[in-house]
Symmetry: C2
Subunit: 329 residues, 2 copies
């Protein structure tokens, strides 16, 4: 992606961008309604068929911790595996990793926060405790030959602490890079990222670890998700988390938009000439089917407004309007 | 703004961006509820005090055409005039121009569409009829020494016709430039603009008319408003319409977001180091007062989620969480 430093992000020019769907995990885990297992499998299959590069299918956590995802094993075993799609899952510990590997998960996604306060609130551990635990998970994955990605929360700010220094973010990346993980996701957990900050952090990451996989995870809480994606691309990134329908969200901003919305990001990138490999019509259809599954509307603007290509008929009296205008000429 | 071609749009670096508030006209005209005249005046005054560069206060149209703005004269006469803010109004014809000038409007904003179908639907005239009519309005304004801006609808696509060729957009700009207007607004009337298209059109405009005022008017219908603003800045633009609370919208996409939201755009630009001259806290307060005036929520993400600087308290049991974590160490 060294060309990204020389080509304007405003013109996609056919460049490949990889979309990682997180709605079935990061989205559904927040929902009150339990989405039936068969519907989850059908949704993952639909997203596969639409061409998503990676899908975070589920989480292998305690069923009491996240009851919405208590059917992780069945879902992961019964989805159709499309060649070219990577099926990943969140695992919090060695037990989760063993379950995920047993269910033939292609890649494990591990999570901790770069903010001490957020890590304590979210994971009930100090960061060093999380790191020690994840180190064991990584060893387990490596023994099984399964790739590991680490999602670092609060890389663009902590909703309780405020700023997180870039050097501290990069230190945590270094620790996981030293353990030989395949990828890192820099997560904007509560919508605090802004484009200039994103541009700087992505440039610093790409300069220091040109071969380490980099994914960006944005929330649209304050309307900046797409701009942050474009700033990331301009700085050399090419892989993004997004959530169908914009599912998921931020417990600190009820009512606000959640994750970057897959169909909004794909729609914009496709218009700009990027190649996401995703069939837009198929993900729009999947997004429009979500309210039936989860019992409420989603924040997706594309589900509401349609795509730019969806033209409208003139009003029924258009012929009359034109006649009257011509008569005045 | 020639520096914009050499400096990355991702870093504002103190550059001045001018924000033109259109909510009190373009927003309120869509509302079912009649906002009392005193509340309109108070809103315009609050927006003035917050530092908006320009405010489209009202419209001088037939009170039966837009009853929501039937108090245009009183509002324009009774607002406080903050030095440095330009108070503009929409005028559809010579009669409107005379009323606006009589009420001491600083600048007249004229509207027509570059799409024949949209112009017929929206203004009940062919484009050439609109142009002939606006030419008279421009003459009236010029006789009175009042500057004129022309807002061209559908410059980034027509929701009924589809694509509008860039050459056609530029032809209409040329006709008004030839009449000596002070400014042109390229309007994305229904949220069809996308960043690469915006970048190209703004570059073409700035190359051909470096001294003609250029404003961009985006809608957030498909989530691209902020990205389009940044693409415009990158191509040399520095003036944007936006609407407090994201008021207004697109009759073709009910339920979707409307105009680019003033506080969302200002919030993002301020974070990026641009100088908008706007006090963010004051416009957030104004946006949060809107539901009381209009009887429904607005699409503003900032009104819902707060700004990036609004930190949250850790949960009440945080001390316990930390104690337990430390005890495990």
């Amino acid at each position: 992606m060294s060309t990204a430093f020389h080509t304007s992000a405003w013109q996609g020019a056919g460049r490949r961008i990889f979309m990682n769907e997180v709605g079935t995990r990061d989205g559904l885990q927040m929902e009150q309604a339990f989405v039936p297992t068969g519907d989850k499998i059908a949704l993952v299959n639909a997203l596969s068929q639409a061409g998503l590069s990676k899908i975070e299918v589920t989480a292998f956590v305690s069923p009491t911790a996240i009851p919405a995802l208590r059917d992780g094993e069945i879902v992961m075993r019964e989805i159709e595996r499309r060649p070219g799609t990577v099926y990943t899952a969140l695992v919090p510990n060695v037990r989760g990793a063993e379950r995920a590997i047993e269910a033939r998960t292609d890649e494990l996604n591990l999570v901790m926060s770069v903010s001490e306060t957020h890590n304590l609130c979210n994971l009930r551990m100090q960061r060093r405790q999380s790191f020690a635990s994840l180190r064991q998970v990584i060893a387990t994955a490596q023994q099984a030959g399964v790739p590991v990605n680490v999602s670092l929360s609060c890389c663009f700010g902590c909703p309780m602490e405020g700023e997180v220094p870039q050097a501290e973010v990069l230190d945590w990346v270094q620790r996981f890079a030293d353990l030989g993980v395949q990828g890192i996701t820099l997560c904007d957990t509560t919508g605090m990222a802004y484009p200039s900050q994103v541009h700087e952090l992505v440039r610093a990451f790409k300069a220091r670890w040109p071969a380490l996989g980099l994914t960006l995870h944005f929330h649209n809480t304050r309307g900046m998700a797409l701009a942050n994606v474009l700033a990331s691309i301009d700085a050399g990134a090419d892989r993004f988390d997004a959530s169908i329908g914009g599912l998921g969200g931020c417990p600190y901003a009820p009512g606000a938009s959640g994750n970057a919305c897959t169909e909004e990001i794909v729609h914009a990138l496709q218009l700009m000439g990027y190649d996401t490999g995703v069939e837009l019509a198929q993900i729009v259809a999947a997004a429009r089917a979500l309210p039936e599954l989860i019992g409420h509307e989603t924040p997706s603007q594309i589900a509401k407004a349609g795509t730019r290509w969806d033209l409208h008929q003139p009003p029924a009296d258009f012929a009359d309007i034109r006649e009257r205008a011509l008569a005045r000429a």
